[in-house]
């Protein structure tokens, strides 16, 4: 809502108040000011001048030389050269003098044009930042020849142009919340100004003389759907004279951000801005059968709206129809032929009230949100329709542009009882935590035009938002001042702590950072194409994500079923940004459909690294240390080549990928990315990744830690070099060693893997240091040797033997 301060002045005088104070006062009382602007602010040293003579330029066919009298602005008559052909002796024109400025920072200096001195510039409307809508009698491509208009002060030579054409109003832009359509009006904001600053304001009841006539003989109005149209008032204006509106009206519309069109359209807009109630004007010639039906459209019924677009209606939409066809979409837009035209003779004014939700749905379905629909959809006051119509009549007579028939149709309107809300000062103070005296509360409410009597508060009918006692509390609070409410701290003790899940996730994040990884945060929605990029098999369940029906774009159209593509994306971006090495992790949700309405949202950890010392074993090291750190033990790594084992397996190098299992359950995957995956993302170095199912891990992690006594007796170590088939995973050997050494085992450390000349073809040598210790006493050589024997026997089952 753009408010003209001059217009506001009709209702309340704040002319002595600095604009900044006005704006901050209203902002604090709830009508937030976004910005304010004074018209013509950028214009300086542009004055009213009179053309004394026009003579051709001696060196040019298209230039003329003017002598201009700028009165007291200059002691001399100015000589100005112009290229415009519409200037004549005696014309009043805007003169930009030497050293003047125009909108857009344009500076005008005196100079010579083809050898002839020019002491400034004659301005067009455009150069002043105006259009022919503001001055319909002027032309767009020529000098603005100013006309003396009725009711305006005569031009004075040398007068500042902004003053001369009243191009100096201040326009204040308000952000009005959806519950306050009443504030989308000059009167509404005047009321708020009154309440905020406690200055007098007056709203005069509109009056008109009218001519005799029975409207019922001219028009019939029937409301077929009372629910969607609680009120419909129609009035008739005869013998209208369509023309331009007076300057003061055009100025106010302009300052309110509305284009002046013609007097009748302008009157409806003016009333809408002033009273907050949209109106419509029909040419009675185009209302077949002289009847107005407010009814639901028929399915498939068509209307061509004012904007020239043919629209197909549904039976949910409310229309204003004549005997045969819709002439307007109720509360949204009029039909093409129903509007006011230059040859219109008789006009029907409509001041109605339509159901907000219905208008909103209709406007949305038809894709045309208008000023009117934006107001109706918030729910307007049916009572306000009447004064709005009266004001329109008053303006018609004021503008002398038609004869108002002094009877109206107010189709079966009855509901006028003001609804009261309990006014309980004690409850309000308890609710706000304040100690505001009752009379102060009453004062706040009365300044907002509430009536307070017998323990009840009655809001003015335009206040559609007042329903309960907390609404009354808010009114009191905002006028009393939110910031005058004390600040207290909630009492009572509360037992608050993080949940196990939250602690677990925090632990993982801490472990990951301790291991040198940087946390990333990525979008939860991805492109379905990303499934191809990470080589998910066509049959993969992950390819059936939660789909957004109205996404911003394909790239963000499905909820991710895997964190992996986001991680690859971030690695690729870092690679492109020439970051030589990264080690990253993300702790985030995946969205996995489960057959129900809402998907599961399990938490996953993804890890990604490239560059530096990144290799398979370093990503494994990070995952391994992290798992141990968070209390997950006894998990195993097995080579993973099948997406049946882990859904994202195909994203990885088939020979360099491990699945992590615990208690027979796959809990994660890690490895080198498949060359094709890296190519798909444009990562030019080997990259490694991992994904861990965090939610599932929570139950597997051992939270309880028990102290084990430090060893009293020395450990005994035996180094074994074992020769086995080259394809036998070392993990198998280690498992066999652990199993056969038994409870005296302290650690098994692999320290060498060798293949080469010394070893038979197809074999490898793997060397382990086995550390053993007993808590009962120092291990004897015999005990250690016996353990080694057991190991060798067990290894023999795997076809492994001691290296010769």
């Amino acid at each position: 809502m753009d408010l003209s301060m001059r217009w506001l002045g009709d209702y309340i005088d704040v002319s002595d108040m600095p604009i900044k104070e006005f704006c901050s006062g209203l902002t604090i009382s709830g009508s937030k000011v976004e910005r304010w602007e004074t018209e013509g602010e950028e214009i300086s040293k542009v004055v009213v001048g009179k053309i004394l003579s026009v003579v051709p330029h001696e060196n040019s066919d298209h230039l003329v030389v003017c002598k201009v009298d700028v009165g007291h602005a200059s002691p001399d008559v100015l000589q100005i050269v112009t290229g415009a052909s519409n200037v004549h002796e005696g014309d009043f024109v805007p003169v930009a003098m030497d050293g003047s400025t125009l909108p857009g920072g344009v500076k005008i200096k005196k100079g010579k044009l083809r050898g002839v001195e020019s002491n400034g510039m004659l301005c067009s409307l455009g150069e002043l930042g105006l259009t022919t809508h503001d001055f319909p009698y002027a032309i767009a491509d020529g000098i603005f020849i100013m006309q003396q208009e009725d009711g305006c002060v005569p031009f004075e030579l040398g007068q500042d142009i902004r003053e001369a054409i009243s191009f100096d109003d201040t326009s204040v832009e308000f952000e009005i919340t959806s519950n306050r359509p009443d504030c989308m009006s000059v009167i509404g904001l005047a009321r708020e100004t009154h309440a905020t600053f406690d200055r007098p304001y007056t709203v005069k009841e509109p009056t008109y003389k009218g001519i005799d006539g029975d409207i019922n003989s001219m028009l019939k109005v029937t409301i077929h759907n009372k629910e969607l149209c609680p009120r419909y008032i129609a009035g008739v204006v005869k013998n209208v004279k369509i023309g331009m509106s007076p300057r003061w009206m055009r100025e106010r519309l302009r300052a309110s951000g509305v284009r002046p069109i013609n007097n009748f359209v302008d009157i409806t807009n003016y009333v809408m801005l002033e009273y907050g109630h949209p109106m419509h004007a029909f040419d009675i010639r185009y209302i077949d059968g002289a009847e107005i039906n407010i009814r639901n459209a028929k399915d498939g019924e068509k209307i061509t709206t004012l904007d020239g677009v043919e629209r197909t209606l549904t039976e949910k939409m409310l229309v204003i129809a004549d005997a045969n066809k819709p002439v307007a979409v109720a509360g949204v837009m009029g039909g093409e032929y129903s509007g006011i035209m230059d040859d219109t003779v008789d006009v029907v004014f409509e001041a109605a009230c339509f159901d907000g939700a219905s208008v909103r749905t209709t406007a949305k379905a038809l894709g045309m949100r208008t000023d009117a629909s934006a107001r109706f959809e918030k729910g307007l006051d049916p009572q306000n329709a009447y004064p709005a119509l009266m004001r329109a009549f008053e303006l018609v007579e004021m503008l002398g542009c038609g004869e108002v028939v002094n009877t109206i149709i107010d189709a079966d309107y009855s509901d006028k009882t003001p609804k009261g809300v309990e006014f309980d000062p004690e409850w309000i103070n308890n609710f706000l935590g304040t100690d505001i005296p009752e009379d102060v509360m009453k004062g706040c409410l009365e300044r907002l035009d509430f009536k307070v009597e017998n323990g009840m508060a009655y809001a003015p009918s335009v206040r559609i938002d007042i329903e309960r006692k907390c609404d009354i509390a808010e009114e009191v609070a905002r006028i009393y001042g939110y910031n005058n409410i004390p600040k207290t701290i909630i009492r009572g003790v509360a037992d608050a702590r993080l949940t196990e899940k939250q602690k677990f996730e925090r632990k993982i994040a801490n472990a990951m950072t301790a291991l040198g990884a940087y946390e990333i945060t990525t979008y939860s929605f991805i492109s379905p194409k990303y499934f191809d990029k990470i080589r998910l098999p066509e049959s993969s369940l992950l390819r059936k994500p939660v789909v957004i029906t109205n996404p911003l774009g394909e790239d963000t159209s499905v909820m991710r079923t895997t964190l992996l593509p986001s991680m690859c994306e971030v690695m690729a971006r870092n690679y492109n940004n020439r970051n030589a090495a990264v080690c990253l992790f993300e702790l985030g949700s995946e969205y996995i459909p489960n057959g129900g309405e809402l998907p599961d949202e399990p938490v996953r950890l993804s890890v990604g690294m490239y560059g530096g010392d990144a290799d398979f074993y370093s990503v494994k090291g990070i995952v391994d240390s992290m798992l141990k750190n968070i209390g997950v033990e006894d998990f195993e790594y097995t080579a993973c080549t099948d997406s049946g084992v882990f859904a994202e397996a195909d994203a990885f190098h088939p020979g360099r990928c491990a699945v992590i299992t615990k208690d027979g359950k796959a809990i994660g995957i890690l490895g080198e990315l498949h060359p094709e995956t890296m190519e798909n993302y444009g990562i030019g170095v080997k990259a490694y990744a991992a994904k861990i199912n965090v939610t599932e891990l929570l139950d597997m992690a051992n939270e309880v830690k028990t102290y084990k006594p430090l060893p009293k007796f020395p450990a005994t170590t035996r180094d074994l070099a074992i020769v086995c088939d080259e394809n036998l995973p070392a993990g198998e050997l280690e498992k066999a060693i652990r199993k056969s050494v038994g409870n005296i085992l302290e650690s098994v450390t692999l320290f060498d893997v060798y293949q080469g000349k010394q070893i038979a073809e197809g074999k490898k040598s793997v060397a382990y240091a086995i550390s053993m210790r007993s808590h009962e006493g120092t291990l004897t050589d015999e005990q250690a040797d016996a353990a080694v024997k057991r190991v060798l026997k067990e290894l023999a089952n795997l076809g492994a033997e001691l290296r010769a």
């Binding site: 959806s178 969205y591 309405e597 809402l598």
Partner: protein, 340 residues
Amino acid sequence: MMKEQLEKIKELAESELEKCGAADALEALRVKYLGKKGELTAILKQMGGLSAEERPVVGQLANSVRQTIEEKLSARAAELKSELAAKKLKEETLDVTLPAKSRTVGKLHPLTVTLNEVKEIFLGMGFEVVEGPEVEYDYYNFEALNIPPDHPARDTQDTFYITDNVLLRTQTSSVQARVMEKKKPPIRVISPGRVYRSDAVDATHSPLFHQVEGLVVDKSITMADLNGTLELMMKRIYGEDCKIRLRPHHFPFTEPSAEVDMMCFNCHGEGCPMCKNEGWIEILGAGMVHPHVLEMCGIDPEVYSGFAFGIGLERITMGRYQISDMRLLYENDMRFLGQF
């Protein structure tokens, strides 16, 4: 005679020890004077030729000479050791300005850093941290919050829909009704998480961002409590100098509703480009829980009252680190992540 010899040995030894500059030379002196074939031993061997009166006197003297030499020896040894150590330390001097051998500690994302702080603050005030689904029923995101279908407030939150009934939550307020359905007052929770709005990406908008919702419901909770809690929170996040103001606003699920502004840290309320000349920066929305919202969750608004607030995590994070472009938070460039 022997007395003189002993005195002479003592003097000689003392002067030699004084001059001795190395550990092996010192050992040679020890052998020379105190060794089995040493000079002192040689003298003692001649003791047999002394008279009974002389013997104890000379013996005593000899012992004292031995003791003196031993003491001097060990003192000198200590001196030499420390000289040597000092010399070694000097040789070992490093250029301490050479670069460190780096050990990488990873870092949490700036949003996580901020969120962790917010959580700490509220845990300290007795708030539990609760979570809710991001893919949510229309009911919890809108209807339970007093926003029925076709309510104009839906326009201000452009929503991503999954089905007619399911959407991506547009606000963490969706967790409010879920909490109140499950838990009866007293309720004191915060609920952080991701929210989604159909805004095109630019420096200050993202279709996905983070909020932290707060909800308190109990007997005699007042708007003054809301005021106090918000001020405390903002001071904890931004420091003691932080000033806030409440401005009446409208949210369908709170009444009274407020937007909370923080005094611009750049111009201190004077107005500057950073705060779009307003002197204040809008930072969060809050209000007293609407009685209808309580009713829908089966809580009697005549007995209980409450307040709620929602903070944008991006806004706080960008403010405190002076990050001017929201996109940086989601690009995850290492050079960015490394700064926090």
